[in-house]
Symmetry: C2
């Protein structure tokens, strides 16, 4: 089943979307918003699934689905916790600035609590106050959970995953070092995150969803050119069950909690840092990682962070080349 | 005007509470939940104020108000950002562990993004998995904002404050050092926060609310004995306008955002660390601070963190000795 929230007021208007993303039907006969659906998922999900089946069969009223009409699947959410599950990315970042990575980073997930009150729609511009902030994208996988009890096991956590989507964890790189030094996490260096138009149930992802990971290349484009296509199922040190259990260690998580994977990152076939797409590598899911690799290989970064007018596109395709979640596509613009 | 959310489903049931906290009237004729009221505050607040006036005059139906029937004013919230505005507290923490405090801590607020999806009701137990985690309370002031645009000035931020309340930022002290070292903020060391039964408009706080600060002693009790009574208007380095503007520097904040002051903390009259209540001082708004002062004065901490069965009470009284927000009163219990 695929769900989306059309832009409409603060909560959006929940629609069920066809598997091929061409048509949608209003979920209103069942439930008006995605948060309300998540609040009572056991009862409502089967009824939404009936609508999805009717949509495929043409037996319910439907309309043309346009990705650019979408808000984030949860147009505002009660929680957004973003992990750093691809430890390769973290290790590269450390190497590039000559710092050792603590050994426990391989066993104890990094995770930060992000702002969830005002996510960006998948086609909304990224408004930033200054290019000097080092504006970057981070292409990620994210899941939406049901209620998760305090102290949940990995298995309980996996069972609580309701929906899967893509995220662009917009980052202001030049504001990160001073916030990181304070230890309190990211406030100014992590503005609003954006999410894919469509959220998909794990069951509808088929064999691509297994072991708490999504095994497909995550496609990132910068100004229409391929920038990265790392596989989200490869080099993911902490699967989503482990990330959720980490978050729930000392507190319960409410239905509608979004958990992110962190920037998807693959090592090269030889075990070293991945190569750029231009050199036949899988490239990167953020500019910072390309800059890290440039620093390691050439002594300094060559690629600039995002400029006003740049466009980022993040998407994932199934084995037949069809978009699974629709595309995040955002232009970077100056804040008025 | 005073507002509370009675425990009812996930969103609570909004009531208007009398100034003396004895009676309440259902807000339902105007709006069902506090979040919905905040979403459309300009239009709805005057109508809620009419109910409040009717309540005082006995001209609307009312019922006895019981603080223990309350959920948090926002039973789930889209954002909780907690500052550390009482830099004295931060400086003491550093001194006690022999670390220097960076000079910019006096000019650049510390702030972390906390979990807002599952706040605790003011009389709900604090469930913890182990006393070994170093369970502590932190008595704070918190405000709820309306929509705040990106890049808001301090003055715009102050004007966006809709309600004021008290908070208990429950902390697991022994989990903090490892999370702080990672730089990504607090996930496991900051379980659910609790809030006072009642949230109060700045206007109803009279002269106690000025300069973006609440000028009254914040009363903390441990097992029925006074533990601290620092004045929340004293030694607050960053007022709420400054804290909100810091949070909104690179992103907008949605209506219903909660901003916390951090642990209230006063210096002693001689400029040194505050003295315990037992020695005639104003005491402390968390156990950690008493332990810091013990470490500085006696070489090691003497007071233990919270044990199962301990009870914490946090309250604030007006000049006539009447409770303003109702009391947070929580027993610490083992998690099942």
């Amino acid at each position: 089943m695929k769900l989306a929230s059309l832009s409409h007021g603060r909560e959006g208007r929940l629609v069920v979307v066809s598997a091929d993303l061409t048509r949608a039907t209003d979920a209103f006969p069942v439930v008006a918003t995605l948060q309300a659906a998540l609040d009572d998922w056991e009862r409502l999900a089967p009824r939404l699934a009936d609508l999805a089946e009717g949509l495929e069969h043409g037996s319910v009223p439907s309309f043309r689905f346009h990705e650019h009409d979408c808000a984030a699947p949860l147009p505002r959410a009660f929680q957004w916790l973003d992990g750093s599950a691809y430890v390769n990315h973290v290790e590269l970042a450390r190497k590039a600035r000559g710092a050792a990575m603590p050994e426990n980073f391989w066993t104890d997930p990094l995770m930060y609590q992000g702002g969830s009150d005002a996510p960006l729609a998948p086609r909304a511009p990224i408004h930033a106050r200054s290019e000097e902030d080092g504006i970057d994208f981070e292409a990620e996988i994210a899941v939406i959970t049901g209620d998760v009890p305090m102290g949940a096991t990995r298995e309980q956590a996996l069972a609580a995953i309701r929906l899967v989507m893509l995220a662009n964890d917009v980052s202001l790189r030049n504001r990160i070092p001073s916030e990181l030094a304070k230890g309190f996490g990211f406030i100014q260096s992590k503005p609003s995150t954006s999410f894919s138009p469509v959220a998909v149930t794990p069951g509808a992802l088929g064999s691509a969803w297994r072991d708490g990971k999504l095994h497909r290349p995550l496609l990132a484009q910068l100004n229409g050119a391929p920038f990265g296509r790392p596989d989200a199922g490869t080099d993911m040190t902490f699967d989503f069950g482990t990330l959720i259990a980490h978050a729930a260690a000392t507190r319960r998580l409410s239905a509608g909690t979004i958990i992110g994977s962190g920037t998807v990152s693959n090592r090269d076939a030889d075990g070293g840092p991945g190569k750029p797409v231009a050199e036949g590598g899988v490239g990167y899911a953020c500019i910072a990682e390309q800059r890290m690799v440039e620093t390691l290989r050439q002594g300094e970064p060559k690629t600039s962070f995002l400029r006003f007018g740049d466009t980022v596109r993040i998407e994932m395709k199934d084995a037949d080349g069809h978009s699974i979640f629709g595309a995040i596509e955002q232009e970077v613009l100056p804040h008025d």
